[in-house]
């Protein structure tokens, strides 16, 4: 696939290198085919390049064949636009939406011939600034980065570039970082040193300079800025391969396992008119035939039905397809899909996450079995033959009975299908394993031991076979790998570095992931992996990410954790505010953005 290394696509922006004050390389440490679908990259590319004095160019990691060629020919990793080596940029901005990209990130630095540890980088190297959801716990990668953006990049990026534009030439890295630390929402690890207790648990972060902030408060936009309407159109096939259009950020549901649901609070909706107007330009600007209306939970967008009706009316006969990810288990989802999906009906995905009502109350996804079966029936009636059910195993308090229930419920859904449309009905059950994430109500919980996961998967493999049934699952070792990186502290960086030295990269690719390399890296670093994975944290334990403030209070998360232990669900917070902390944290911003675009209560001041 050489097409992923050439650039030159429609809507690419190439500025005159010499005329630009601050040059940013946007690195997404996956291959082009995946990275080009990342919305964050699209947004930052748009914002930075709209400024006359700045430029942003893209870079991705090469696949193994190209990596070999680059290394053999000693060609440093370059940007797709101007083909400048990443070394020549002022800032290397790295998108890290998920943790399994960490080794690719290190590999990209190495391919760019940039020293991996910030201590080894000179004043002339680009500043390495990371962002994305996984950087809400930046500690495991702290020694590799100069700074981490906490929160929404569109809010903070121009502050960073403006500060950078004010640097004198020849300024030392230390002076640069000293100036950057005044920017709210930017975490600069060299100004802090972690301390640990005798039992190995994290104690606190010691500030190395008095003026470093105690808490890094997430930056957010008060109102979603205008969406990019001229995104780059790849020549080659990419994942999704459609125009992205974000309709809402955040989620009010409060599923207790969900990292995104906490870190993207508060919910901010984009007005229907703005979505429609954007589509009017997005389609002629790109030629895309598919628009992905993106959010964490499409059916929760307040105006979803009027929006879909308006889209159907305006774009009828233009062969435009609309995709709505993450639909809830309710009949309105079926009518929405019915209105949108034209003649082709592949699979319809529902995510009950757990198969017993007891467990669904614990994870706070309270729907009834009957609701699921009724929705399934409607889906089959409306022309779909396959329902994909997404579950997780390894939830807190889960027993083998709860796992057996996954098989039983899948079979009941299939039974509904057979009664409705006969033997064409199919159920594909996908089972992931729960990984406790920082900043969520389950951040105290241990991940299930591998043997337990294996036993549960065994049960499902025995049960879910036969006509019309199909089961997909994840390797328990991949789950444990993810759990280390999610809740690690700064000591884990040594393990990541050693694993990379042993050849770890593309850890999100099953054919490249090698568990034994990681176990060796742990052993070489004399660190016990179970300390990060299966260990249940005491409620008094300080976390290595406590200085990162998402706006949601730790006391709220703890209360929700305790509610979960009592099997007590918490209602959708768009009805009642449960005082998670967002409103006091962003009081001014809410005041400046009154009305219904935020789903939090209004802030009234005299």
């Amino acid at each position: 696939m050489p097409g992923r290394y050439t650039g030159g696509e429609f809507n690419q922006i190439v500025k005159n290198w010499e005329d630009i004050g601050v040059r940013v390389a946007l690195l997404f440490p996956e291959i082009y085919d995946l990275g080009m679908s990342n919305l964050g990259l699209t947004i930052l590319y748009d914002i930075i390049n709209k400024e006359l004095n700045y430029l942003a160019e893209r870079s991705f990691v090469p696949w193994v064949d190209m990596e070999k060629a680059l290394r053999e020919e000693n060609v440093p990793l370059y940007s797709l636009e101007s083909k400048h080596p990443l070394l020549d940029f002022d800032i290397l901005a790295v998108s890290l939406p998920y943790e399994s990209l960490y080794t690719n990130f290190l590999n990209a630095l190495d391919l760019a011939q940039i020293p991996i540890h910030t201590n080894d980088r000179t004043d002339d190297h680009p500043l390495v600034i990371v962002g994305g959801h996984s950087t809400f716990n930046p500690e495991p990668i702290a020694p590799f980065i100069d700074a981490a953006v906490i929160g929404e990049g569109e809010e903070i990026i121009l502050d960073i570039l403006e500060t950078y534009a004010g640097f004198q030439s020849g300024m030392s890295k230390k002076d640069k970082l000293n100036r950057l630390k005044k920017i709210e929402g930017l975490y600069i690890p060299i100004f802090y040193e972690p301390l640990y207790n005798e039992d190995g648990t994290f104690s606190n972060l010691k500030k190395m300079v008095p003026e470093a902030p105690n808490q890094i408060i997430k930056r957010i936009v008060g109102k979603l800025p205008p969406p990019p309407n001229k995104p780059i159109v790849p020549y080659i096939d990419t994942v999704h391969n459609r125009a992205p259009l974000e309709i809402m950020r955040g989620c009010t549901r409060g599923c207790r396992f969900c990292h995104a649901g906490i870190v993207t609070r508060p919910v901010r909706e984009r007005p229907v008119d703005e979505i429609l107007e954007t589509m009017e330009t997005l389609i002629p600007n790109t030629g895309y035939s598919e628009i992905g209306l993106l959010s964490l939970s499409s059916s929760d967008y307040t105006q979803i039905v009027p929006l879909v009706e308006a889209i159907n009316e305006r774009f009828e006969g233009q062969n435009i397809a609309i995709s709505l990810p993450s639909l809830r288990i309710e009949s309105v989802s079926v009518s929405l899909m019915d209105a949108l999906s034209g003649k082709r009906r592949s699979g319809f995905t529902l995510a009950p996450e757990a198969a017993t009502e007891r467990l669904r109350n614990i994870i706070n996804k309270p729907i009834s079995d009957q609701q699921l079966l009724d929705t399934a029936k409607e889906i089959y009636q409306h022309g779909w033959h396959t329902i994909k059910l997404y579950f997780m195993i390894g939830h807190p308090t889960e027993t083998l009975d709860d796992v057996q229930a996954i098989a039983d419920l899948s079979k009941r859904v299939l039974q509904v299908g057979i009664q409705t449309i006969g033997n064409r009905a199919k159920v594909n059950t996908s089972v992931g394993t729960f990984v406790p994430k920082p900043h969520t109500p389950f951040q105290w919980v241990g991940v299930s031991p591998q043997e337990d996961i294996a036993e549960k998967l065994d049960l499902l493999q025995k049960e879910l076979r036969g006509r019309g049934l199909k089961l997909n699952w994840n390797d328990p070792r991949e789950t444990h790998f993810e759990s280390w990186l999610s809740r690690g502290d700064r000591r884990l960086s040594e393990v990541i570095f050693k694993a990379w030295e042993k050849g770890a990269k593309f850890d999100a690719w099953r054919e490249h992931f090698d568990f034994s390399r990681w176990i060796e890296a742990f052993s070489d670093s004399e660190i016990d992996p179970e300390f990060y994975s299966t260990r249940t944290r005491s409620i008094n334990e300080a976390f290595p990410w406590d200085h990162i403030n998402t706006g949601v209070k730790k006391s709220f998360l703890l209360e929700d954790y305790q509610w979960s232990q009592e099997g007590k669900p918490r209602a959708d917070c768009r009805g009642d505010c449960f005082a998670c902390g967002i409103l006091p944290a962003y009081n001014d911003l809410r005041h400046e953005n009154p009305g219904t675009l935020w789903l939090c209560p209004e802030v009234i001041r005299n």
Partner: protein
């Protein structure tokens, strides 16, 4: 553009028409596709200055205006040389009308024995090669090969004309390989597509 595969190229054309606000006709069925026929797939890595495609619109539009709209919407790397209306289809769909393809191959260095190799290949009665684990005879697909001299100091170019037969289509990279020229020593450009029923001069 040269690393865009055939299917992705069709997608690129579809998007170009949508950007130009020109209504392509779509097929019926579960998965409507735009009705676009490109005469012959261009293998990945080749460039071309001579592609032919039929595009079916759902409305009758003036060709000059269509050309103007398309020119404003083309991605870097695509140029339209000519565009005209087909009054009526003759002899089937475009791909079945291709008789021959001509290629101009730029070589990065001199191959001193090349003329002899070409003569030997042209005089042979067969040239058995293996492609995708299947043996086939390349010789009947070769219409002509010739060396063309360039400016002083540059290596000559190779002109290759290959037939499209019902059973197989000649590939210029196979000819290069038969002449012992490594693929990284050359850039292959398709310079002409000759259709059936078109008089040659």
């Amino acid at each position: 553009m040269r690393f865009t595969g055939h299917l992705d190229l069709i997608l690129t054309w579809e998007r170009t028409f949508r950007r130009a606000n020109l209504p392509l006709s779509y097929s019926e069925g579960f998965n409507p596709r735009p009705i676009i026929n490109l005469a012959a797939p261009l293998p990945l890595g080749f460039i071309s200055t001579a592609e032919i495609g039929d595009f079916w619109l759902s409305e009758h539009l003036i060709p000059d205006e269509v050309l103007e709209s398309l020119n404003r919407s083309l991605p870097p790397g695509l140029i339209i040389h000519d565009l005209y209306e087909i009054a009526q289809l003759h002899g089937g769909k475009l791909p079945s009308l291709v008789k021959r393809s001509e290629y101009s191959i730029t070589l990065f260095e001199e191959f001193p024995r090349l003329q002899k190799e070409i003569d030997a290949l042209l005089q042979s009665s067969q040239c058995i090669r293996t492609r995708k684990k299947k043996e086939y005879d390349l010789r009947p697909l070769i219409h002509d090969i010739a060396l063309e001299s360039n400016d002083e100091g540059s290596p000559p170019s190779l002109f290759v004309s290959l037939l499209t037969l019902p059973s197989a289509t000649g590939r210029p990279d196979e000819v290069l390989s038969a002449l012992d020229i490594p693929s990284y020593e050359a850039i292959i450009r398709r310079s002409a597509l000759i259709l059936k029923g078109i008089e040659e001069n």
